[in-house]
Subunit: 222 residues, 2 copies
DNA sequence: ACAATAATTTAGTCTTACCTAAATTTTATT
DNA sequence: AATAAAATTTAGGTAAGACTAAATTATTGT
């Protein structure tokens, strides 16, 4: 059998990894939405991946999918490529953090292991990508993430921004204009229990952020 | 209609361009060999490309194919990507000229026009790739090539090596060890009319080269 | 000019990865 | 516990792009 990891399969595994990040299996519908294909098609592929040798996913009808050891390894491989590429595009070609995603999305599937090693070495083996996301190590382990969502902080708490988990480039540009980028120090000023808005201060700028944003920003408390 | 230029199609067009470089149409068999697929499959694709709107190739049964204006433009686009990528890989990631081809072969189909512009600018818009091949310009014209094959030179003639048209990495490493790389000065010492061997001197090294090699090395006479 | 050989094309299959429409769970609501 | 709604799966297609085997055309050496 020995599954060839087609670009499609790589994308399935990557998205399953991200959806199962916090324990629960990934649903057919959630996967379909992410992959921008129809749920019926997802079922077909999932069944194939579960039946392959070795199986790449664990699957029970109507219960969603999780990755097997092999599937996880393959997913981390793609994610490592993606994040290293993003870092490299920013560092060597002057891409901004809102421009890199699309390009990395295509390149991640075609670069060689040699290319991966070369860019990793050229950058001094970075730990995070331009959005602050952790880069899986060369031996395909995901480093531990000790950050908390900004949405969990309350007035007077402060922290350092670790990571912004957003794909929308408009939002990324907006956050950058507010100084909200990895490495910045942030202080929570106010909290509204009605709409969960947080008033935060970064540098000299004060901003009011809704939950849909604060839940995507991850900080290390200080 | 508006053909989507799939990776397969891009490869066909690129190889047709190279095969028709000196006027004559490309034969089905020659294309099949280059693309490493069966002649029967080539016929099918060629017919599709000739029937597409706009047509990308000109084709008459048993007479081979040539590129139309549109096909040529698409081919030059891919070739520009390939050669810029090769130059980029050598200049920024330390690849050697025998290692770049494979990697560029996959990347050429997935980089954006933005990526193309950025690497071209970063390198100062190079005219040639690491093998000395001319890079099509940003507006997709192939610069004039005024070089002659080394095989056409005779004793006492000298020149500067412009380009080595070889894909075989062993051969490339061998030539490099002989000092035969773009930019090097070369002098023809002897010629054997029996086997068309040339004895050449580059730097302090003297080598005897067969026609299969000398026909792949292009020089500018001096 | 004609058979032998080489090149090319046709016809019919296969695989991958999608789709739509219809059937079947599962889950949520009363 | 019954039913409505939502999620999932099945069944039957389609499109690309390859393959094999067989048929057809060209080319070549005598
Ligand atoms: Mn890798
Ligand atoms: Mn990222
Ligand atoms: Mn281009
Ligand atoms: Mn080259």
């Amino acid at each position: 059998m020995e599954q060839t990891l087609t670009i499609s399969i790589q994308d399935y595994l990557k998205h399953i990894y991200e959806l199962t990040d916090r324990g629960a299996p990934a649903s057919t519908n959630a996967l379909a939405e992410r992959l921008k294909i129809k749920p019926a098609s997802v079922t077909g592929m999932i069944q194939k991946l579960a039946a392959s040798n070795p199986p790449l996913v664990e699957y029970q009808k109507h219960q969603g999918v999780t990755l097997t050891k092999d599937g996880k390894k393959a997913a981390l491989e793609v994610i490592r490529h993606h994040r290293l590429l993003e870092a490299w595009l920013v560092q060597t070609l002057g891409y901004s953090w809102d421009e890199v995603h699309e390009e990395a999305e295509r390149l991640e599937h075609v670069i060689s292991e040699d290319f991966e090693r070369r860019i990793a070495a050229a950058m001094g083996h970075p730990l995070r990508d331009p959005h602050g996301e952790l880069i899986p190590t060369a031996d395909l382990k995901m480093p531990l993430d000790d950050s908390t969502p900004l949405s969990a902080l309350r007035p007077n708490q402060t922290g350092t921004i670790q990571c912004v988990k957003a794909a929308d480039d408009e939002l990324l540009r907006h956050l950058e204009s507010l100084g909200i980028t990895p490495g910045a120090s942030i202080e929570v000023k106010e909290y509204s229990s009605y709409d969960h808005n947080l008033t935060v201060k970064v540098g000299k700028k004060t901003s009011v952020l809704g939950l849909n944003i604060t839940s995507k920003i991850f900080v290390e408390e200080s």
